[in-house]
Structure formats: structure tokens, C-alpha cells
């Protein structure tokens, strides 16, 4: 046993040295790449070790050819990175990009179906916290590496892009996507950052007055779009006091197409008395996915919100 541990430690040391070496070669080759137009992207070295969002080190023996993605946001990123042709299984929730319609579905909302996943013979599984701990452990026991991605803010989306890029050998494309996102965010933020902050309430569902507080993408997007989330005093998704809403008196209310009827919102006690309703500033986001999914499309959501809050800046 002791010998085995020693061997393991040695292996880890080697692995670390190896990955360090890989990093340095990456850095070294980068400038050359930009100068040579037709060079292939840096080939990822396999076996590859990545650290996922749970802080676990996952070893991937060879370049994956069959990917199962258990979160719509991850699926979007894989397609955006150009590795969509390797996706062989997604959840029932996946609806973007349109091609994903033809990919076999491996699970519903209560955690995915382990049998359906195994049937796809994946080389790698991208999971989320909703995927179910037991299910994922049983898949790992079958020798299928599981990488857990769970971005909670935009910086972590970049991190997801980097991890997926590394695994699917699309790091370069990943860098481009991150750059595009950063440019877009900067462009929008530059337009609005010197304008007066607009107070915003985001209504997730009229039934129970649910909102998105601190720590949600929506809260982050509102801030970047030159607004202030009136519900930043609650964490995550929460049922918000209508009294408090009346007191905070938001200038703008944004809702989703599934929150309930906008006509109802405008006639509801409490809501009726907010500046947002009085000045007819109740907006419906075109698509919840672009403001709640940890995908690169989040910048579209940001743009839409910024236009709701500061239409004058986008003329």
C-alpha cells in the first residue's frame, strides 16, 4: 500500500511537471502562431488533466470524439467552439443551436438517464450540479471521465470556454469567443457607464413574485447594462416582498415571456404604483435563455437589457 502511494505521488509529480511543460510550450508557440496564418491550432496533449468546477482533477486519456453534454449552456459552448459534430447526447432542455434538435436526448429534468448516456458510448461527459452526484459517480466508475462545469458569472463562462476548448482541441476558437464577448461587453458598458443608474426589478414569475437577486447572471447583466438591481439584497432566486418593491420603486421592470401576463403585472397591487408601470417601462426579454444560461449568448441578453435601460445610448 505504502509503495503504491509513493508511486502515485511520483506520478502526480510527473504529471504536474508535464503539464507545466505543456503550458510553457503553449506560451512559447503562441507568438509564432499569429504570424503563420495557416498553422493548425495547438494540439492538446493527451492524456490531459483538467481541473473542473468542483476542483477535481479529471484525466482524459485521449482526444474525445463522442461528447455527452448535460447542460444546455455547455452544449451551446461546444457548438460555438466548433466541436458540435462530436456531441452525441444532450438533455431534453437543449434547444440551441437548432442543429441540437437532432442529437439524441439522454435525460429529463430530474437528472439524466445513465443508461441512455452509456448507450451513446461517450468519451467524455460534461455535467452540471443538476446532473446528480450518484449518476455521475456511477458513470465515472465505468471509466467515462466526467467534467463538471457550473459558471455562476461571466468570468466563469470564460473559464468554461477554456476548459471545453482544451478538451476538444479548440482553444484558439475559445480565445476568439472570449475576446468577442469581452469586446461586446466593453462596447456596451462604455456606452452606459457614465449615464445615471436605472433601478431595475427583474420578475421571474408573477406567481409568488420571484426575482433574481445577487449572484445571478441577471443581476450581473443589470449592473453591466448601467442599472441597479433593486433585489440585490436577496441571494439567488427568491420570492421578493411586494412591499419592498413598492418602497424601492424601480424605474424599469423586466420580465420573461414565462413570468405571466404583462397586462396582469401592470394591474397588480403594488406594481401599479411603481415608476416602471406608471411610465410604461415594463419590458419582456425576448428569450430567457440569453440571460440565464452560462453561454456566450449572454452578451445578447446584456445588449437587450442595456437597450431597455438606456435607449438613448443606442440610437
Amino acid at each position: 500500500m505504502r509503495r503504491f502511494k509513493g508511486l502515485l505521488a511520483l506520478l502526480v509529480v510527473f504529471a504536474l511537471m508535464f503539464s507545466l511543460a505543456a503550458c510553457s510550450t503553449n506560451n512559447a508557440t503562441k507568438p509564432q502562431d499569429t504570424s503563420q496564418t495557416a498553422t493548425e491550432t495547438v494540439k492538446t496533449q493527451f492524456p490531459l488533466k483538467v481541473t473542473d468546477f468542483l476542483g477535481r482533477e479529471v484525466t482524459i486519456e485521449k482526444e474525445p470524439q463522442r461528447i455527452v453534454s448535460l447542460a444546455p449552456s455547455t452544449t451551446e459552448l461546444i457548438y460555438a467552439l466548433g466541436a458540435g459534430n462530436k456531441v452525441v447526447g444532450v438533455t431534453d432542455f437543449d434547444n440551441y443551436p437548432p442543429e441540437v434538435k437532432d442529437v439524441p436526448k439522454v435525460g429529463g429534468f430530474k437528472g439524466p438517464n445513465v443508461e441512455a448516456i452509456t448507450a451513446q458510448k461517450p468519451d467524455i461527459i460534461f455535467a452540471s450540479t443538476l446532473s446528480g452526484k450518484e449518476q455521475m459517480e456511477s458513470l465515472e466508475k465505468m471509466g467515462i471521465p466526467v467534467v463538471m462545469l457550473e459558471a455562476k458569472d461571466i468570468d466563469q463562462i470564460y473559464q468554461s470556454i477554456k476548459i471545453i476548448g482544451q478538451i476538444t482541441g479548440t482553444e484558439k476558437k475559445g480565445e476568439e469567443i472570449i475576446k468577442e464577448m469581452q469586446d461586446k461587453i466593453k462596447e456596451i458598458n462604455d456606452k452606459v457607464k457614465n449615464l445615471p443608474k436605472v433601478s431595475v426589478f427583474y420578475l421571474v414569475s408573477l406567481d409568488g413574485n420571484w426575482t433574481s437577486g445577487k449572484g445571478t447572471f441577471i443581476d450581473e447583466l443589470i449592473n453591466l447594462a448601467g442599472g441597479k438591481n433593486v433585489a440585490e439584497d436577496v441571494n439567488g432566486w427568491a420570492q421578493y416582498s411586494v412591499e419592498e418593491l413598492v418602497k424601492k420603486n424601480p424605474d424599469v421592470i423586466i420580465t420573461s415571456p414565462h413570468a405571466g401576463d404583462v397586462k396582469d403585472i401592470k394591474n397588480m397591487a403594488g406594481y401599479k404604483d411603481t415608476n416602471a408601470v406608471k411610465n410604461d417601462k415594463v419590458f419582456v426579454i425576448s428569450n430567457d435563455d440569453i440571460i440565464s444560461r452560462a453561454s456566450n449568448r449572454i452578451v445578447l441578453g446584456l445588449e437587450e437589457i442595456a437597450k431597455f435601460l438606456h435607449p438613448e445610448a443606442f440610437k
Binding site: 431534453d92 432542455f93 429529463g108 429534468f109 421571474v204 414569475s205 408573477l206 406567481d207 409568488g208 413574485n209 420571484w210 437577486g213 433585489a231 439584497d233 436577496v234 427568491a238 420570492q239 421578493y240 416582498s241 411586494v242 412591499e243 419592498e244 413598492v246 418602497k247 420603486n249 415571456p257 414565462h258 413570468a259 405571466g260 401576463d261 397586462k263 396582469d264 397588480m268 397591487a269 403594488g270 401599479k272 404604483d273 430567457d288
Partner: protein, 330 residues
């Protein structure tokens, strides 16, 4: 005896008034007492007026009315179904309402359409349960209880399936079924109060007859009680009251189950006294629960069902243990 009951009623009534005042004065937003008085005298700032008159006041009234209705229904159903576990939802009212609400949400109905749909489907469910349990003019209470359980399970399965097939509306359905009074406005108070108050009163009129039925249906008929008619009236009125409550507050468990028991432990089993006492206790309990739901984690609100179960359950157990000790001591 009479004096003792008088004290119980006096205390309960004062407690109700106190709870209502507390419920109007406390909330997520702090409003000084002076400002509250100003509002009631026609002054106060616009914000405080909205909060007090359009949010807190209708909510306090609605929670009291719903608490009253559910407790009265629970009292009668427990007696009539001869089952201490019977509550207003036992005949499938809640799952029927949830079924209607789910369909309404999927079809994209607004708040009014949703409440109306929940109301109609819950009544249809009870009518269905009632129809299967009827042979000729007689209604079997046992069959009703079992049919109610079966239809609830079936409806819940269909709801889960509908949720599965309509991911987009998933959260709204879940949120609706958690219940609560955050959507209450004066319209809902005006719509529900007459139904629940009149319904409760109609049932109360039959308290003496239900007392007789409790001692045995044959005995009751001997005493000149038309048991089948009484059962029908109580079942239909009770279902109407419950459906009304569900349509505005969602599914609020535990009130109709434990308030009647607690009241029975305090004032005894005579329905003529028990029913009004349950009515007041239910009003206090739910108004207080709603107040807690609003302030415990402010500015966040928590679903009221969590409060009713978390506070009602242990209190009920305490009373059970206490009454057991009492009877053992005697």
C-alpha cells in the same frame, strides 16, 4: 362551563384582533406607527398608503378568511369522514386545483384565468369523486376518502408529466403550487370573502345535525336528521370553500388538518362551539403564518406552506403529548 367557554372565545377573539393589527403594522418595510395611523386617517405618504392599504390590509383579511374557511371545512370533514387525518384537500380539491392551474399556465392564461381555472377543475374533481362514491341516494364516506386519495395521486402524476413536457413553464408551475398570498389584492378579497363566509355559515347551520351523525348515522336518522342531505350539503359547500381558498392562495396544507384538532382539545367536540372556535383559531393561525412568511427572511418571502407545517406540526404534537399526559393522570 358557560363562563369558561366565554373566556376561551373572548381570548381567541382578542388574539385575532391583535394578530390582525400586528399583521398590518409589521412587514418587510418598516413603517412607524404614527405613519400607519396617518394612513388610516387619510394621510401618509403615497408609498405607505400603497403598502398599508393595498398590500398589507387585503393580505391580512384574505389570510384570516382563508384560514377560517379551511379550518371550518377541516372540522366538518374530520367529523363526517370519521377520519382524524381528513383535511379540506382530502377529496382531491388541491390536486384538482393544481391540475387546472398547470393547464392554465401552459396555455398562458393570466392571473384571473388561472384562479378561475383552478377553481373550476377542483370543483370538477370533487364532483367526480362524489359521483363514484354514490350508490342511489347514499354516499359512502369510505369510498369518497379512497377515491379522493386515488384521484389526487393520478392528478399529481399528470401534473408531473405536463411539467416534464413543458420545461419553459416549469418554474411557474412549481411556484404556484408552493402557495402563498403575495398576489392578493382587493379584487381577490371581494371575490373570496362572500363565498367562504357564507359557505362556512351554511355548514355551521348543520352543526347540530353533524353532532348527531357523529354518534351514528342510524341514531341521527332516528332523531329526524336527513343524513344524506346533510352530508351532501357539507361536502359540496366544503369543496366550494376549499376551491375558493386554493384559487387565491395556492395549496396551504396543515391549517385545515391541525386547527380543528387543536380547537377540539381546547373546547371539546360539540360542533356548535367547536366550529366558531375553529374559525377564529384558523384565522389567527394563518394570518400569523403569513406575517411570519413576510418578515422572517425579509425582503425575501417564503412560501406560507413552510410556515404552517413548521410551526403547526410541532405545536400539534405538543398538544397531543400534553393531552395524553392529562388523560393518563386521571
Amino acid at each position: 362551563m358557560g363562563v369558561k367557554k366565554g373566556i376561551y372565545f373572548g381570548t381567541a377573539f382578542s388574539l385575532l384582533v391583535f394578530t390582525m393589527i400586528l399583521s398590518i403594522s409589521a412587514g418587510a418595510v418598516k413603517i412607524p406607527l404614527q405613519e400607519i395611523l396617518n394612513v388610516f386617517l387619510g394621510g401618509g405618504s403615497e408609498t405607505s398608503r400603497t403598502i398599508i392599504l393595498n398590500l398589507r390590509l387585503p393580505r391580512a383579511i384574505e389570510s384570516a378568511i382563508v384560514g377560517m374557511g379551511l379550518s371550518v371545512v377541516g372540522t366538518f370533514f374530520q367529523g363526517l369522514l370519521r377520519n382524524p387525518m381528513a383535511d379540506p384537500y382530502v377529496l382531491g380539491v388541491s390536486s384538482g386545483a393544481a391540475f387546472g392551474a398547470t393547464i392554465a399556465i401552459i396555455l398562458g392564461f393570466g392571473i384571473f384565468g388561472l384562479s378561475f381555472m383552478a377553481f373550476i377543475t377542483s370543483l370538477m374533481t370533487v364532483f367526480f369523486v362524489y359521483t363514484i362514491s354514490r350508490t342511489g341516494t347514499r354516499v359512502s364516506m369510505t369510498t369518497m376518502l379512497l377515491a379522493g386519495i386515488a384521484i389526487s395521486a393520478f392528478m399529481s402524476a399528470i401534473i408531473s408529466l405536463m411539467m416534464l413536457l413543458n420545461h419553459d413553464e416549469f418554474s411557474r408551475i412549481v411556484f404556484w403550487t408552493m402557495g402563498g398570498f403575495s398576489l392578493i389584492n382587493w379584487n381577490s378579497v371581494v371575490f373570496t370573502t362572500p363565498i367562504i363566509v357564507i359557505g362556512s355559515f351554511v355548514m355551521y347551520v348543520f352543526s347540530r345535525d353533524v353532532n348527531a351523525i357523529l354518534t351514528g348515522e342510524e341514531v341521527a336518522e332516528h332523531l329526524g336528521v336527513n343524513t344524506e342531505l346533510v352530508k351532501k350539503i357539507i361536502l359540496i359547500t366544503g369543496s366550494l370553500v376549499t376551491a375558493t381558498a386554493v384559487s387565491v392562495g395556492g395549496i396551504i396544507g396543515f391549517v385545515g388538518l391541525i386547527v380543528p384538532h387543536i380547537s377540539r382539545l381546547i373546547v371539546g367536540p360539540d360542533n356548535r362551539i367547536l366550529v366558531p372556535f375553529s374559525a377564529i383559531s384558523g384565522a389567527i393561525f394563518l394570518t400569523f403564518a403569513d406575517l411570519l412568511a413576510r418578515i422572517i427572511l425579509k425582503p425575501m418571502e417564503i412560501p406560507i406552506g413552510i410556515i404552517t407545517a413548521a410551526f403547526g406540526g410541532p405545536f400539534f404534537l405538543y398538544l397531543l403529548i400534553k393531552s395524553k399526559q392529562k388523560s393518563e393522570g386521571m
